[in-house]
Symmetry: C2
Subunit: 492 residues, 2 copies
Amino acid sequence: MSKKLTSRAENYSKWYNELVVEADLAENSAVRGCMVIKPYGFAIWEKMQAELDRMFKETGHQNAYFPLFVPKSLFEAEEKNAEGFAKECAVVTHYRLQNDPDNPGKLRVDPNAKLEEELVVRPTSEAIIWNTYKGWIQSYRDLPLLINQWANVVRWEMRTRLFLRTAEFLWQEGHTAHATKAEAITEAELMNNIYATFAENFMAIPVIQGLKTESERFAGADETYCIEALMQDGKALQAGTSHFLGQNFAKAFDVKFTSKEGKQDYVWATSWGVSTRLMGALIMTHSDDHGLVLPPNLAPNQVVIVPIYKNDEQLDAITEVVNGIMKDLRAKNISVKYDNRDTYRPGAKFAQHELQGVPLRIAIGSRDLENGTVELARRDTLTKEVVALDGLIDKVEGLMTEIQDTLFNKAKNYRDNHITEVDTFEEFKKVLEEKGGFISAHWDGTAETEEKIKEITKATIRCMPLEGKIEKGICVLTGRESARRVLFAKAY
Amino acid sequence: MSKKLTSRAENYSKWYNELVVEADLAENSAVRGCMVIKPYGFAIWEKMQAELDRMFKETGHQNAYFPLFVPKSLFEAEEKNAEGFAKECAVVTHYRLQNDPDNPGKLRVDPNAKLEEELVVRPTSEAIIWNTYKGWIQSYRDLPLLINQWANVVRWEMRTRLFLRTAEFLWQEGHTAHATKAEAITEAELMNNIYATFAENFMAIPVIQGLKTESERFAGADETYCIEALMQDGKALQAGTSHFLGQNFAKAFDVKFTSKEGKQDYVWATSWGVSTRLMGALIMTHSDDHGLVLPPNLAPNQVVIVPIYKNDEQLDAITEVVNGIMKDLRAKNISVKYDNRDTYRPGAKFAQHELQGVPLRIAIGSRDLENGTVELARRDTLTKEVVALDGLIDKVEGLMTEIQDTLFNKAKNYRDNHITEVDTFEEFKKVLEEKGGFISAHWDGTAETEEKIKEITKATIRCMPLEGKIEKGICVLTGRESARRVLFAKAY
């Protein structure tokens, strides 16, 4: 069924690309840089969506839907935002194709169907949404406005990789409006917190919450909060961002409100998003040379049961027992799939479920029936044990928590062991080269130094962590004063 | 809060447009023909999505995601499909904007960033999906392939109306592949059945299942099944379609499979979809001059509770009782919202919930607390009654079913009373003019006659019903032989 994957040690990047395709998560499409998310990969994304959506709604947010297209005149209204996205956007210029007179059977753009104003396919929706909010916000009674959108966006990236960086990707984008600056900042922090909670409790990925430097901020934001994760190859991955947008968009789109006291003021804004990029983080944090490893909280099938039989009579007897197990597991909200396909042998099924990261496999053969046992195989540890059918449900329930915790702790140990404090640039380069991970170093706070370090080492400032001690020091590159350590890393 | 709506009798079309905006369902955007779906409207759509998604998954379908863009060369591969959609598609020709040297602060398309091949924003995804299926299908073991996608699509319609016909709309599109023609036809019928069940059980809209005539078929289909509903103004609305695509796309994209017997053959296909257009059907079927009327099975809030109080002490006492009611209603899976906003008076809240179609309103005042009563107001019948707090939960639970049934039966009575058999063209025109609705008439089976009737009366053949007697007769227009009656109507 599946060919052996390239090992991580041999070629991490190749391992990732092969795994994504072989585990049936996604594949490249006929459209440059755009991916097809296959059913198994999409089922994981759906589980992520469901949890995030629940968390958004529990904190008072509502979903809505805004247009895919942004007229050029709106796109360019907030200058920094426009500048940030203009270089990589898909532009609709025509609204019709016609038969190509020079190529029978082929079509061409109809030159008479040129749009008066070009439409940008949304790379992010602040412009179209703030233009809409102008009509929705008049008074303090209309605030706060807490809205989220699940949507596709397009950024014309030149170098793409499945899930990590694609021309079209799926995401959610929250866009909120507030009466005060303080409330908007609290919102931006709250949503970054929700992302961190989601990453840790569901994805089993430890993250560092922090602030971006000015040069790494979202185009149009006054402050960008982020969650940063560390992959197994020592590279960091920005897993989510939450922006305090100040009054930038309110001013660009003239969105004012009347306060209780009858005073007019511009509205304060946030936006925040996570995308299918999270799939890349999930894969690269836990998976191994055998394939995908999924935390139970996001696995489409937490348990798979494979019958081992020689004839229909044996299969029938096994199936009867399996039906009882499935009923009991489902009663405990554990998702289970019975893989009784007769077109594949058990060995091929085992290989597929291992490759696809099903947390727990249960195999039941005729001898098991006689002995009142089943065989359990954990995907995370690749260990097997024979256990009694009696007590199986509690055992499996316990394992779901144990596997989830094991994955998180393993990732956290790795991450914690890969945060290195350095005080010289030599050390900086040596650690980056030999060990990778986050480097905690002093920086003089200038964009020039940040850029120079990036040029020399390819490491960027991932964030200024929100937690931990703030100590003064001297910049590793320039020797100038530094107000605090920041985290550097090479990043996806 | 809300201005009075134009009445249906005065101007049905205006009534609809006003209602959609006033009830906070959707509004027009800055992009020609594209709508913004507002949070309340989107919450209804989310309920529809959840139910449909459950029904699709229960019948073995999986979700996936395919690219937004279709390269022109793929778009034109299936000739009829291309011809059907070429005239109204958005075309991406460039991938970058740049500063406009002639207009400081403005952007323009970068002439150096022209795509080698134009990309069509998907009007439907058969082309991109069948090009993908080519890589997924080799053997009978890969079949059936049962995939659905929730997505946005763009059709450059010239005359648009909120929900009913918009340039961008949201929908689901199922795309399945099968080993045999019979299996594909069964699938197309199954999905049309699911649409009918959903429409009747959740939307409370009676529908007629039927087949489209050749001229009304989906471009590229061999057969199109549909569900047709009737609106209150006597016009029909196509609420969903399910297509048997034959081997047309398999041939256009060269998708073959090897059978168990080792024989190669092209794959058989279906596609099927419903869209945000359903929102239009829902609104126009049940709503009245006071605003939206929602069936309980799709209402974001099935019950709203409004406290009537003069001071905080009264409010606290009411709130305590309300908390108990909410807990008990939620335990019965009845969604309830406590509208305790202090920025609006009870009258304004009543008006808003009436306008927004909340099925049941409960008002509780201080005197109610003394008497152990509450006031119930049904949105469908606009009737009020005072009932005992004791037994309230069961009463509300019963009303949810009763309101759902009442709406369906009312719509069904109207629909059934508006199917008229006619045998002459004079009668045809008279009924169409004076009564509207479906006209069951004989037709000679030719596209010419169909077109001519459309030209004269604006009525089209909505479908050839799957159920009911098949009787021969003579065509109302030409007097030629007719194999069966078909249903004509003016339609949205």
